[in-house]
């Protein structure tokens, strides 16, 4: 039985860590762990939005250990990944953001990709409203590699995240709208911090 159902609004950082840990420990007890649901909506009225619940399948067949040093690293990896999404949601929600917060969590093509997105969004005089939801799982973790590496598989739900006019905030979504898909995310540990360096969309894999 997977335990889910708590969604924390981005920005409520203090509480989110606790939720993460609770979910992890709850999951660990049933021998299935390493995932976290989060990134609720920014609308304060929606307190209990339904988090993403991947419909089983290939997404959760292999999960990195959740105890010992690897478990600790896996939790740090997930926290970094969720902080990255919080930073993205915040930066994409403002028309005057410069994307510098994204550098704290990402590098390489992951950073380049988000900066391209941010630039295009600003050029189109748009912002993103609402927020994505997700359900990341640490698939692999190599603490003996130099640098250490990790791979997250995420079920990303973007149905609640919209392009909108920066001024009127009217939704201006594109036609080729995605809803929910799997993303494979690679991280490396540099300089005492985990960094997301590749974010691969697998839009033909639903979850």
């Amino acid at each position: 039985m997977r335990q889910r159902g708590i969604v924390v609004r981005p920005g409520v950082v203090g509480a989110s860590g606790v939720v993460l840990a609770m979910l992890l420990s709850a999951c660990a007890a049933s021998g299935d762990a390493g995932s976290v649901d989060r990134l609720g909506t920014t609308a304060p009225s929606v307190a209990a939005v339904t988090p993403v619940a991947p419909s089983g399948g290939p997404a959760n067949d292999r999960i990195a250990p959740t105890e010992g040093p690897e478990g600790a690293a896996g939790r740090a990896v997930l926290r970094t990944y969720q902080d990255w999404w919080t930073a993205q949601t915040e930066a994409f929600g403002r028309s005057d953001s410069d994307g510098s917060t994204l550098e704290a969590y990402s590098s390489g093509s992951a950073l380049g990709g988000t900066l391209v997105n941010l630039r295009q969004l600003h050029d189109a005089k748009m912002v993103m409203i609402g927020s994505p939801r997700n359900s990341p799982v640490v698939k692999t973790l190599d603490l003996t590699a130099a640098p250490q590496t990790a791979v997250i598989e995420d079920c990303l739900d973007v149905t609640g995240w919209h392009q909108a006019d920066a001024t009127t905030r009217a939704t201006k979504d594109p036609r080729e709208r995605l809803t929910r898909y799997i993303a494979t995310v690679s991280l490396r540990k540099f300089d005492a911090r985990w960094l997301i360096y590749e974010f691969k969309r697998e839009v033909d894999r639903t979850c």
Binding site: G14, A21, S100, T159, H162, D173, R177
Partner: protein
């Protein structure tokens, strides 16, 4: 938790809601038949967001300080250095160099062209011709500088400043040292004497602006390995160092109480981490431009031994 069927229903509802939006009454142009919105954020759409359009990080425009050769300006297709040490700054619109006449002429000088010194300043104007020749410097009045250093890129300057700051990995202070006990308050802090101190601000000077980056410890996240996470934020972020005088009291700022021991685990210890989240605030002098703070995280692994009961002997 969502069953597939319900999920479909919800998705359908979301879709319907999308059709029924906009939330804010759209001005003039509703969707049907209207403009086509392009995919700007490729995380939400399968659109045209391919490599090749990668922006240079930070806004383009004027070069920000350091690196590279001299910047080139141009006039009628001919390139000239933007700055000449003897002639001053080049203007792309006139093809002339300008620099403040030094010293400024007396107030009754004809160089002021009838203006008062408080109206502006007199500049030496030196114009270049395409064959490389140059006119004699000619004093000319301008209310505002006709040419000057290229604008700084404050975002780039902020990054330069931040790059000079070493954000320390957290050095954890934990009391009691060695073995904690279930139910007894544990104190958590960053040991400032061992390199966890807040780094000093750094200022970088550009052509016209200077940018100061001031680091601040935002929050410290303690993953204690027992399934709990303590986040100490703002004033309480660094925690309070334990002193025996405090006895068995709980930390006034940052602490934890273990609810279970670590003895049953294979290694007999909990594995966790402590992460310091730094925010570097950016102030720009010489412009009222606002720049997002920079952020930085640093983590250190933790291994904690927690006993079920106090051993007395």
């Amino acid at each position: 938790m969502l069953k597939p069927v319900r999920r479909f229903a919800i998705r359908a509802m979301v879709f319907a809601a999308l059709l029924l939006s906009p939330v804010v009454p759209a001005a003039a142009d509703p969707t049907p038949g209207g403009e086509v919105n392009h995919c700007t954020v490729n995380v939400i759409c399968a659109g045209t967001n391919e490599p090749g359009t990668k922006p240079t990080p930070g806004t383009g425009g004027g070069g920000g300080g350091g690196g590279g050769g001299p910047e080139l300006c141009s006039y009628h297709g001919v390139e000239w250095p933007c700055h000449d040490p003897e002639l001053g700054w080049f203007s792309n619109s006139t093809g002339c160099y300008y620099q403040l006449t030094n010293p400024q002429p007396p107030a009754d000088s004809p160089d002021w062209e009838g203006h008062k010194p408080s109206d502006g300043a007199v500049y030496d104007k030196t114009c270049r011709s395409s064959d490389g020749g140059q006119s004699a410097p000619e004093p000319t009045f301008f209310a505002q500088a006709p040419a000057g250093p290229p604008p700084d890129n404050p975002v780039a300057l902020a990054r330069q400043a931040a790059d000079r700051i070493t954000f320390p990995a957290p050095v954890p202070g934990i009391a009691p040292q060695g073995t904690a006990v279930v139910g007894v308050p544990v104190w958590l802090w960053l040991d400032q004497s061992k390199g966890s101190a807040v780094p000093a601000p750094v200022t970088v000077h550009g052509n016209t602006l200077s940018v100061t980056v001031t680091p601040k410890l935002d929050r410290v996240v303690w993953d204690l390995g027992d399934g709990r996470v303590e986040t100490c934020e703002g004033q309480t972020a660094p925690g309070t160092p334990y002193d025996p005088a405090y006895g068995a009291a709980a930390s006034p700022t940052c602490g934890h109480v273990f609810a279970k021991g670590s003895a049953t685990l294979p290694t007999g210890t909990f594995f966790g981490s402590v992460t310091a989240h730094w925010t570097a605030y950016v102030t720009v002098t010489g412009s009222n431009q606002k720049i997002d703070p920079l952020q930085m995280t640093r983590m250190t692994d933790l291994e904690l031994r927690v006993a079920e009961v106090q051993v007395l002997n």
